[in-house]
Subunit: 353 residues, 2 copies
DNA sequence: TTGTACGCGTTATCAC
DNA sequence: GTGATAACGCGTACAA
């Protein structure tokens, strides 16, 4: 670590960093070493134009020898592309979206792109601020995981940069929507309980401002209707996708005295809350009450008992969203489609006693 | 959306984005509008030098009127600072680190910085690649959450840019280590079980290549020794911090026939796995077996029964790490300290039958 | 205090 | 095909 005094590292004891890394190799240095112009090096790097084989070889050699690494910042300024994609999520530590973020990262990294994750915190205002920050950082595209933004706002944004949005069925130029059939998933879950012989199936709603929440409620009602089982309002409990709301819902239900033999929660987190609520009331799962969740979180396998739930391919959702973004960037018009919902049978359901 | 034809948006039907946003206001435009030089605008924005009040007012007005937003990319090229911090985590969807990531985001955003999260996937090679990518993107600093890198590698990195690392006690110039007293936490948990009257306490180890794993094992042994309870090797079970390993450990334990009345798992995830294992063997928690975890994940409150565990202030860890980074960047030498471990008593423990 | 001029590392537009 | 040259938007010595 000798040669870094010139421009890099800490500037002797003042306790401040210069911000310049030590001994960086620039494109220009490569050009000189290879005996060609900087423009040609750039062309080789980007495949912008055809260059003769011998020059290319010389440049490749120089790059390897000097250990040249392109500077994305300069690239961003000059070319207008930053090779970075903004990803708007609701909470970076969400057990649900986390998996999608990993999928996005997996697909973006090999392509040379990096992801800028920001959390909207379920607030439209916060989400707008995040998006502004992302755009000021000149991201090349934006992936929005079930945001709070209006369809109109997204379409407008798509006029300026490619947008991929999940959890919606929206059509607009420069925009790809990646939707999941929540209604069908909820129908499957409810139908499973009906098939087991349950007739009094409680349903814990998700946040009804959230499209997923509405659709899953519809699926529940649809399955009931198809089986000619009357929907009873007292069995439809309000919730907001959190464990706490699942617990509270069960407490309200048992307190009300409304009879029930099964519970279908709109997501796994509420199912976990409900599981605890049932435990507190001395109700066993599945002996006394059957329980079904939605999403198939990684932890659902390890709940006691392992939770029967509707599988939501979140990880794949992330991967597909990122791949669609890459294609959008390449000028294509992808139309990705998610695998259909299916039920994962585990140990939290059985026929009513 | 009229004026964007000049330089922005999609270039008419070709299906490619130019990468240039529409009608961006530059610093130079602000300068012209305010009747001052670009240099002065820059100075006002950065507080680099004193400018007269009237010019400042004119510039502020122009900025507001034109809706000027600085371009971080250009700023990065010119000033060498990108206002972005690299954050190396092991998995972006980790239930444990997720909380830390949020803490980091919360502290960085108000300061105008953004975080670049990357996942090392528990692989030293992958982690090195991530760090290279981050450095090539010219991050101003690096936060490493319990990485696989050697202390030496971190110290070397700290010569070039500020580094904050968690889960280590390391001293080096330009580097802040934020350690947590795992040993004391494990001691507290074990002592709690001992105080309840347990004598045959099984311990599920974490990954022993991981410092946390080693330290927690030490704390367990230390508490046993202090209570003059002999450590029995058959009660120390191998694990790797995953739910699956917790489950497997319990299966091995029960199969071995070794008597035990309590289980202390090195982290909550393994405790959840153990919980399921006990359930499968027909052992009730806490009636037949007491169970204690470590970390206090958000989900620990909603397991059945709610899990007694050692609280790990992960969220605060993230916040403190980010704040330390900010101070480091400002030329200070922070020495942040995490709150001491404490036990959260819930419902998974009681005296042995 | 303020303005001028240059540099940051690349890409893009020209001529050749 | 290839090489000068001009942006890209901003920070900052230096001079005034």
């Amino acid at each position: 670590m000798a040669g870094q005094t010139a421009r890099g590292g800490k500037d002797g004891g003042k306790g401040r960093w210069t911000g310049q890394a030590a001994g960086r190799v620039t494109l220009e240095m490569v050009a000189e070493a290879a005996g060609v112009s900087a423009a040609s090096v750039s062309r080789i790097l980007n495949g912008t134009a055809i260059v003769s084989a011998d020059k290319r070889a010389a440049v490749d050699a120089a790059i390897a020898r000097l250990g040249y690494v392109p500077n994305p910042v300069a690239r961003g300024l000059a070319g207008g592309r930053t090779l970075s994609i903004g990803v708007v999520t609701q909470a970076i530590d969400s057990p649900f979206y986390g998996s999608a973020l990993r999928g996005i990262e997996e697909a973006l990294t090999p392509a040379g792109y990096s992801a800028l994750f920001v959390s909207g915190q379920w607030s439209a205002a916060q989400e707008a601020r995040c998006i502004d920050a992302l755009r000021s950082r000149r991201v090349d595209g934006m992936i929005v995981l079930t945001g709070r933004l209006s369809d109109a706002a997204l379409s407008t944004m798509a006029q300026e940069l490619p947008v991929v949005v999940t959890g919606r069925s929206l059509r607009a130029p420069g925009l790809v929507a990646l939707d999941y059939d929540n209604e069908e998933g909820a129908r499957l879950a409810t139908q499973h309980l009906l098939a087991l012989g349950h007739r009094r199936i409680a349903f814990i709603c998700g946040d009804l401002k959230h499209p997923d929440g509405k659709q899953r409620l519809r699926g529940y009602r649809k399955a009931l209707a198809a089986a000619r089982v009357p929907a009873v309002p007292a069995l439809e409990l309000a919730g907001d996708f959190t464990e706490a709301s699942g617990l509270a819902a069960i407490e309200r239900l048992t307190d009300s005295g409304t009879p029930f033999t099964a519970v279908f929660a709109s997501n796994d987190q509420m199912a976990f809350g409900a599981r605890l609520g049932l435990h507190r009331r001395g109700l066993r799962v599945p002996e006394d009450v059957s329980l079904v969740g939605f999403d198939d979180l990684a932890t659902a396998v390890y709940s006691t008992p392992p939770l029967t739930t509707v599988h939501h391919p979140v990880h794949e959702l992330g991967r597909l969203a990122a791949q669609a973004m890459l294609q959008l960037l390449a000028g294509a018009e992808p139309a990705p489609v998610l695998p259909p919902p299916h039920l994962i049978l585990r140990e939290s359901t059985r026929p009513p006693a």
